[in-house]
Amino acid sequence: MKARRSRLGSAARAAVLVALVLVAPAYAAEQTPIRIGFGMALTGGLAAAGKSALIAMQIWAEDTNAAGGLLGRPVELVYYDDQSNPAVVPGIYAKLLDIDRVDFIVSGYGTNQIAPALPLAIQRNRIFLALFGIANNEDYGYDRYFQIVPAGPRPREGISKGYFELARAQGLKTVAIISADAEYSQHSAEGGRKNAAENGMRVVYDKSYPLTTADFSPIVRAINAVAPDFVFVSSYPVDSSGLVRALNEVGPAATIKMFGGGMVGLQYSSIAESLGPKLNGLVNYDWYVPEKSVMTPAIEAFLAKYRDRAKDAGVDPLGRYLPPWAYAYLELLGQAIARTGSLDDAVLAAYLHENPTMTAVGEIRFGPKGEWEQARSLMVQYKGFTKDNVLEALDTPGARQVIYPDSLATGSWLPYVQGKQSGG
């Protein structure tokens, strides 16, 4: 009897042990976070935007975990500083995939930082969501690439399409194109050339400059010398600031009716504050501005959370440019995972191609190359900025009036010189 009880006890213990061994991995997997890896510009020239994007992504992770995670598992962000330097990006993503073994990779901020990461994602057949890249996938045609900026199916042209259509509507015929020697700027300038050709315009100046250029007055004078009707600029934050300053110092040629187009940086609070009334009259791209035709409750609610975190972080305090989109591109990934119940890259990619997805920035439908099916880029004209009201103007209707597309317009186009006087 005693021996039988002992055998029964041993069998029971063995059964429990076997059950634990079988169940534990599944239980552990449920508790293991879903890890999303990326490089982000936390230092260097793009850091002002990169750090604000990181805050937005952290808010997404917290919101997701507060709602129970994805597939019952928490999400965790694994990131490294890419120093705004494309050269370090491949190493970062190799580490994320091979050493950190993250579940998913997403891009850092900007065309320059996406370009070196995309080949590795293609090589490894990974789904790859990109943050503010222009035409990175144009030549690859990779079907697991998805891009959050609404530049449309032809992103090179999409970012400046409105600018050239505005110019055509005003009867402007000759254009000067100036761009930085960097990936985004060159893609955007190429798009500008195509838009000029499509609109029957003549390019009278077409040059690029190195990112180390300290003074832009020789460039502005050279542009003035060819007397274009308008100028398309494709520049990065520091050079955008330099070009606007040089334009104000040298003064535009009398023929120039429009200046701007593809200038990154004017949307950053710090750069805008430094320029103040010099912004008036410029026409430039944007994605989300505080104009009634564009504002959405979802983004405004997100911005309230973002601003609370940003105020002590030394980043853009307003957050209208990049953060909502950084939140949204993780929303895309999260929704794809939740809707498909899968972590398989192929399944998620197929889902995103086949289904419109609602995010904080609105409904998104992707085309075959992972760009938005419909462009939603805005052209805004800066008006009414003074030395003292910049932050307020950036955050209230009226100062960045939407002048393209017509369906969202909240103001009308003014020639540059007239727009410049709008600050009083």
Partner: protein, 290 residues
Amino acid sequence: MLNLELFCNALTIGVLLGGVYCALAIGLSVSFGLLDVVNIAHPAFIVLGAYAASLMGQWFSCDPILAGVLMTPFFFLVGRALYQIYYLSFERRGAEALRGMAFFFGLMFIIEVGLIMSFGVDYRVAEASYIGVSYQVGWLGIPLRLLLPFLVSLAMAALLLLFLGRTFTGRAIRAVAQDRMALMLMGADPVRIKQIAFGLSLGSCAVAGSLLLIIIPVEPSVGRVYIGQVFAIVVLAGLGSVSGTLVAGLLLGVAESLVAKFYGPSWAPAVSFGILLAVLGFRPAGLFGR
């Protein structure tokens, strides 16, 4: 056909910009040129100077150039202390070549990360009444935000030349670069002299930083852009030559400006470094080197 108005304006801007390049490089001409200290962190100290000027402007509404001048004594003292550490750790042991350079590399990153952690990564700009103002003199448009830094850098170069040429300490600094032992026999302590020289080098960063802040928005890592340029100017000038630094700065500034205007801005760095290579090909010691 060359447009004379464009040419004169490009030349003027080039001269003004060249003066600013001189201000950025002049401290390095002392530390690298005279003391043989490969201070890779020199541009990082310039960025530190820019932040100091920005904070003075933010807290006390101080003009950036004035802020740079007021911060010079503090940077001088930091320079002296830093050289003492460098001397005790590396130079005295004969390990200054690689380890000393690694020390300054590390210092560069510490400064950059320190700035990021203290102030964030957002751009800093200067506020001053002369920024954005341009004087028209006939054909020439002269922006004050370049003219004033140019004048300040001329003053820096002149003061440094006077100091090195007319004071005992200044002559001792030049002497220590030539013959340390002879200087000791003259009754001067070479280590103390080098301390003062390095202090001057870093002191110049306070002013150079304020000038940089006037010209471009500054963020913690912007110094990396100028590492190659400042060393190129010092080498082109001839190691240890302050007047050469001014001439080299002007030469590169003018070359960049003219090329940017007439051939395209993309060519400007290639032409600048092409000039450096050409000069070194004919005069390996640099323009004013011995």
